[in-house]
């Protein structure tokens, strides 16, 4: 069994190594016809740029994106510089240089990778999946009888911020940096999944398709791990299944099929303000131009945020969204599960959390108010501030760096819910509802707590669960996403997630159940 695991690990690492090397491999050759198509498609009017590309790139062979990309970006910069100087605004190119490089790269990839997409898929995704499953599946036997399987978590380098943890950190951060800021280097990755993308939406894959596909693959493989680890706990099994279903069907397949049906790309479960660009001008215009389905999506998006989300939180707590439906939560609960113990439980961290997450909520609401004002009054500025500038700052700082690079990249260091805990504006909104108007709570079982600390250690949201449990007090914290792991790891059966009447939900106690009844009455008067 251990041999299978080790072979699996080697296979996985080979797949990962090939995948990681792809951004700098491959050959590119742009021919005249393809370039003319790009000119037409992108409506490029800059003769400076066209001539530059034609003389420096078209017809030549390039080895690796690193050879071709700087030339494209230089050509773009030169052209725009010239046009700005000459005030030829209609000739200026607004496409970002990395997008232009990605576009040209995609059209000019011609070597082994481009002609052997299936084989390359097998050598990367294929080996990764097979290797990971070989690593994970033997645990059915190796982990022994069903029960809590946390042995050795703080002895392993991977899960105790050791060198493996730091390597994973570097990989994840680099991956997100490529994805958000240097997407041309994802060109070869897009080639691997072209066949799948074409089958779904009819279009070749872009780097966001790579991300979406990879997201589903990673979640599925790591969900298998969850099923094995928590096979004694049916709540975890159901929850993992739910979150996986919503990712694959709602976030991945349905939007792609909608594109095929000439409908707007839309993830029906992605609620504003997590879906921060829902009210952006381009999106509203796109929806309006799409007729019936567009209007339906617009109404659905608004109803989802204003009605469905809070009502569901009232009945079930924010867990129904954060750990049963949400994609960010889904990745955190599968890929991120091995790192859940790294969330900081200090009072200081809780303070930072409250400032940060509510600032982001305020930010997104202000930005959206500006956006809507600009949309209806048809101006680009509000009180002298450019709406698009605010939008760009949010997209960059919050949407990309916070949610992506930090949110996921820092899994092995700060735990798996950094974004959900410190940044997600939707979580902040749901948190208000959960804290002040909900039937959900984690009930503390009378006086049974022994203060061992397993619950706090494994709380991914950094809640000091024990602080409440050892006082016999129910947990009603706004940040709780209801993953249910505190209840699972409790060795004394103290914690239970449940939805019950609001009366008695919050029950501060000084003296715990089991002591003198008169003393309890005296001290616990509330």
């Amino acid at each position: 069994m251990n041999a299978i695991k080790h072979i699996g690990l080697v296979i996985f690492l080979i797949g990962l190594a090939i995948f990681s090397a792809l951004p700098v491999l491959g050959t590119f050759h742009l021919n005249e016809a393809s370039f003319n198509n790009i000119i037409k498609e992108k409506n490029i009017k800059s003769d400076v740029f066209i001539n530059d590309i034609k003389s420096n790139i078209v017809g030549q062979d390039f080895k690796g994106m690193q050879a071709i990309s700087p030339k494209i970006s230089k050509a773009l910069d030169n052209a725009n510089e010239t046009h700005i100087k000459n005030k030829e605004w209609n000739k200026k190119i607004y496409t970002k240089s990395s997008d232009m490089a990605a576009l040209i790269g995609k059209k000019s990839a011609n070597g082994f990778i481009a002609t052997n997409k299936g084989l390359m898929w097998l050598l990367t995704f294929g080996l990764g999946i097979i290797g990971a499953l070989m690593f994970i599946l033997p645990n059915v036997i190796l982990l022994g009888k069903k029960g809590i399987k946390n042995d050795g978590i703080y002895h392993e380098s991977a899960t105790n911020r050791g060198w493996i943890g730091w390597m994973v950190f570097i990989f994840l951060v680099s991956f997100y940096l490529v994805l958000y800021f240097a997407s041309e280097y994802a060109t070869n990755w897009t080639l691997l999944v072209d066949p799948i993308s074409e089958a779904l939406s009819g279009n070749p894959a872009g780097h966001w398709f790579v991300y979406g596909f990879m997201y589903c693959v990673v979640m599925t493989v790591m969900a298998v791990r969850m099923y094995i680890k928590y096979r004694h706990n049916i709540y975890q099994v159901f929850r993992t299944t739910s979150v996986l279903f919503f990712q694959i069907v709602f976030a991945f397949i349905i939007p792609e099929i909608m594109v095929r049906l000439q409908m707007p790309y839309y993830d029906f479960k992605n609620a504003f303000p997590l879906d921060y660009d829902f009210f952006f001008q381009w999106n509203l215009k796109d929806l309006i131009n799409n007729g019936g389905i567009g209007i339906f999506i617009m109404v659905w998006g608004i109803v989802l945020t204003l009605v469905i989300v809070p009502i569901m939180v009232y009945f079930f707590g924010k867990r129904w969204y954060c750990s049963w439906v949400c994609g960010c939560g889904g990745l955190a609960e599968t890929l991120g599960d091995p790192y859940r113990q790294h969330s900081d439980k200090s009072l200081f961290a809780w303070k930072v959390e409250r400032y940060l997450i509510h600032t982001v909520l305020l930010f997104v609401l202000t930005m959206t108010a500006m956006t809507l004002y600009s949309f209806f009054s048809e101006t680009g500025t509000v009180l002298g501030i450019k709406t698009s500038t605010v939008q760009n700052i949010y997209s960059l700082v919050i949407g990309s760096i916070f949610a992506g690079v930090i949110g996921t990249g820092f899994y092995p260091i700060f735990g798996n819910r950094v974004w959900c805990r410190f940044g997600c504006p939707l979580a902040a909104y749901l948190g208000f509802v959960q804290r002040f108007k909900s039937r959900f709570r984690i009930t503390t079982n009378g006086g049974q707590c022994i203060s061992c600390g397993n619950c706090s250690t494994y709380c991914e949201q950094g809640i000091d669960v024990r602080a409440y449990a050892q006082k016999g007090e129910n947990i009603v914290r706004s940040s709780c996403v209801g993953c249910g792991v505190c209840s699972a790891v409790c060795p004394r059966g103290v914690l239970k997630l449940e939805n019950g009447p609001e009366i008695g939900r919050i029950n501060p106690t000084e003296i715990l159940l089991g002591n003198d009844v008169d003393l309890m009455d005296l001290v616990n008067k509330n």
Binding site: H155, T443, S451, N454, T457, G514
Partner: protein, 448 residues
Amino acid sequence: MQEHIVIIGNGISGVTTARHIRKLSDKKITIVSAETEYFFSRTALMYIYMGHMKFEHTQPYENWFWDKNRIDIKKGYVKSIDTNSKTLHFVKGDSLKYDKLIIATGSKPNKFGWPGQDLEGVMGMYHKQDLDNLEKHAPNNKVCKRAVIIGGGLIGIELAEMLNSRNIPVTFLVREDSFWNGFLPEGESQMINKHIKNHHIDLRLSTNLKEIKSDDNGNVKSIIIEETGEEIPCNVVGLTAGVSPNIDFIKDSEIEIGRGVKVNRYLETNIPDVYAIGDCAEQHEPIGNRRPIEAVWYTGRMMGETLAQTICENKTQYKPGHWFNSAKFLDIEYQTYGWVFAKPRENEAHFHWKHHKENICITVSYRKDTNMFLGINTFGIRMRHEIFDKWLTENRDMNYVMSYLKDANFDPEFYKAYENEILTQYNNTFNTNLAPRKKSWKRIFSKA
């Protein structure tokens, strides 16, 4: 000048007292301990060795907590208490004056004079130092080829689980003919026997230790079994044959001791302004069915809650409510509410239900004449403390408890429930025709 309260011992009893005194008053509080700087949860030591947690995770309060709440911490080992001058003398030669003294020094592992019981590699599993010692002598199964555990109680099985987690072979010597059968009814005790063996632990029932043998360097080499004379080579011996009050340093003082520090119902010793709580306190008369010395986390906490009242001018008797306890036997969770004795006492009987396959069972104890519910042991099903506490206060009978058992279920959502199955067996056994009642939030939250 504020009254100075000195607490010896920073376990759950001492720390609970300190916290409650601080809530109620401005008195000067000092906690004295030689074990660790700050309070940690002793029950969680096992999880550090098993890699579930680090030591810092076992500390329920952050380090700034003590300063902020003006609870002074004094690290030191008390050598003697002079109750006339109200002074503590420390091993290092310094001393500390008190106005009121609370002794909360907990327990120490029992040693019954076995030859070799003080060798290197022989240890209990109670103090932080025991954990450090185990980490030294049993870091892995290369250094520790086998460990032998002496004594089949709650700490013994935890130590077995710990060693098992690092794949160190364990031989587990239990004096009784079935695990913990002084406390558990037969069916449950046997289920645990089987569960221990399923974890590849070499469980030896009805087996006593004769002696521990040493190698040339004073390390453990092997143990000899009393009954058979068999020699078992091993590198670590865990002594887990119960605990007794940790009160050696009191023996030369004027404080009255028996096995523990003798206290009355107000937790007062024979000396004014000296109190004792937790594992080290011994009641003159047992309270109800309780033992005079209760070495249980929960009772330590309750005594702390109570004594803080007395210290803060609200003299309060230690009057614990209905008995409850919990433990975990490897993968099997155990909870108990009320009294279920291993062998039913006079006029008592047991109703036992066990799942046909899984390690899930309950034993309910009741009075034969009135059918009154006395207590429940549950294995593999979590139950609601408040509900059983209420039913015990209300003197509910068996028919009621069995019909309304769904109110008491505390398992996580979507878990398979067994109340119907239990009730069917109950109906068949007692020739009744009770119908299961649906879970009701209203009943669950109505106060007794």
